[in-house]
Structures are given as structure tokens and as C-alpha cells.
């Protein structure tokens, strides 16, 4: 059966995967696994990525194996700091970055998450990866924030009880 503890491991594994892939991070850019976060829009600098554990689900595949799903929410947020509204080019760059993140987390042919090097079929792969909200219009209009949400469901097969 899937467990909440495993969900936290998957969340932290996704954080590590993003950190490893995002090699051109700026000084104020950051990635964190969180349960809840209140972000003060007035002093936000850099691009922040927060990974939330969302849900777990499982089913029996056959007599020996279970299939477990772990859903994560990924929140990408960045404030446009100069005076006035962000130009389209600034938003284009952020959307392109979100697409890169979606491809990074959602590539089913890439290295598996939390794989055991000694077990070729261990680890989790992305069964579903979606850009749930490309950007939040209200946050953009009201707070000059680029805020995007991705949802990724990681799947693994484990030996049943």
C-alpha cells in the first residue's frame, strides 16, 4: 500500500531532481519541498519553486505486485520587480522555463526517481505530468506575479504484502 511517508520521500526526490537539473539558478532562485507556504509578495525576489505532497493512491496489479501513485503539486512563482507591468517577453521566458520543468519532471524515459542502483526496475516514473495552470491571471494582474502550477503523478510497482 502507498504510504504518506513514501509521499514525502517522493516530494523530496522531486526537489532533488529539480535542483540537479536546474544548473543555472540565480542567487535568489530556490527550490523547496513544503507542506504549506505563505509567500509575501512585497519582498519576493528570484524564482521560487515549491513542491507539495498532494495525494496517494494504489491498486493491486497482480498476485505479487502493487501499483502506487504519488501526486505532487509544483508551484512556480516569480515577481516582476521593475516599475510597471511585465512585458510579454518576460512572461514568454517564464512560460518557456515552466515547459522545461514540465519536461524535466514528466519525462517517462528519463532516470527513475528514488531508484535503487542495484535494482533495475526500482524507482518511480511520471505516469502523468501536466501544466495545471500555465499562469495565474489574477496574481499577474494584482501582484505582478508569474505563478504557475504543475501536477505530476509518480508511479511505482512494489512487491505486495
Amino acid at each position: 500500500m502507498p504510504t504518506a511517508a513514501r509521499l514525502k520521500e517522493v516530494r523530496d526526490g522531486a526537489v532533488a531532481k529539480i535542483l540537479a537539473a536546474w544548473t543555472d539558478r540565480g542567487a535568489n532562485d530556490a527550490v523547496a519541498g513544503v507542506y504549506r507556504i505563505d509567500l509575501d509578495a512585497s519582498n519576493l525576489t528570484g524564482r521560487k519553486v515549491f513542491v507539495f505532497p498532494v495525494s496517494v493512491a494504489g491498486r493491486q496489479v497482480d498476485r505479487t505486485e502493487d501499483e502506487n501513485d504519488y501526486a505532487l503539486g509544483v508551484w512556480v512563482v516569480e515577481r516582476y520587480e521593475p516599475q510597471g507591468d511585465p512585458p510579454d517577453a518576460w512572461l514568454d521566458d517564464r512560460l518557456a522555463w515552466v515547459e522545461w520543468l514540465w519536461r524535466t519532471l514528466g519525462n517517462p524515459r528519463g532516470a527513475r526517481l528514488l531508484a535503487d542502483p542495484g535494482e533495475p526496475n526500482s524507482g518511480l516514473w511520471p505516469a502523468v505530468a501536466e501544466i495545471t495552470a500555465a499562469y495565474d491571471h489574477d496574481e499577474l494582474a494584482e501582484g505582478k506575479l508569474f505563478a504557475s502550477v504543475l501536477t505530476v503523478i509518480y508511479r511505482e510497482h512494489v512487491e505486495g504484502p
Binding site: 507556504i37 498532494v54 503539486g73 508551484w75 520587480e81 510597471g84 495552470a133 494584482e142 501582484g143
Partner: protein, 130 residues
């Protein structure tokens, strides 16, 4: 001067005397022109809000809203009056450290409105940006 406009002028003087702090308050237009509003404008409603992220439970953006009340007659550069516009900024030096607000409309509202029937004071909606 009608009794109504005289009353409005008296109200403005009373608000300026009582609500302004004497700290430097500067209005900066998007183009860079500035207006010194020290002792002329005063802060109004301040309403911090918490906006939950719709698609992720647990995430929220905390926004610090602040209105500024600015006499129409004082919002002018080189004698030419202008109306508040999205993207303009107010820098408030109350307490020593400068706090910067930007003119941004709340959802469903305009950036500013008149506070009185004689159109003598702007209520300008701002959000803290620094």
C-alpha cells in the same frame, strides 16, 4: 465656494494636519516624473490579504494593500495635473525606512476613484512592492 466644497476643503486640511506624518512621501510616475506629496497626501485603508493558490493546497500569496488619499490639486507636475495610473509608485519614508507601493487595482476595480462628491481627493489603490 459652495458650502459643500468649503466643507471638502476643510476636511482635506484636517486630514492633512492629522493623518500625514511629515515623513517624505514621493509620487513617481511610470515615466519617471516625481511629485513631492509630503504633508499633502495621507494613507488610507491598509488591508493585508492572503490569496490561496487555486490549484495547490497549502500555497498562498500574502499581499499588502494600501490606499493613499491624494488631493486632486496636489497631483501635478510643472503645474499640469494628471490622474493616477497603473504602475505609478509612492515611496513612503515613515519610520525612516522607505516603503514602496505601486498603483495596482484590486480585481474588479479601477486603480483609483474620487472619495467625495466634489472630486477633490483621489483614493488610489496600491500594493506594497518593496
Amino acid at each position: 465656494m459652495t458650502r459643500l466644497s468649503a466643507g471638502a476643503a476643510a476636511l482635506i486640511r484636517r486630514q492633512q494636519a492629522g493623518a500625514t506624518t511629515g515623513a517624505a512621501l514621493t509620487y513617481t510616475r511610470v515615466g519617471g516624473a516625481t511629485v513631492d506629496l509630503t504633508g499633502k497626501a495621507w494613507p488610507g485603508r491598509s488591508a493585508p490579504r492572503r490569496n490561496p493558490v487555486p490549484d495547490v493546497r497549502g500555497g498562498a500569496v500574502v499581499v499588502s494593500d494600501r490606499d493613499f488619499l491624494i488631493p486632486v490639486a496636489d497631483l501635478a507636475t510643472a503645474g499640469t495635473p494628471f490622474q493616477p495610473a497603473r504602475g505609478d509608485r509612492l515611496t513612503d519614508a515613515t519610520g525612516g525606512a522607505a516603503t514602496v507601493y505601486e498603483v495596482i487595482a484590486p480585481t474588479g476595480e479601477k486603480e483609483w476613484r474620487f472619495t467625495d462628491q466634489t472630486n477633490t481627493v483621489y483614493r488610489v489603490h496600491c500594493k506594497r512592492v518593496a
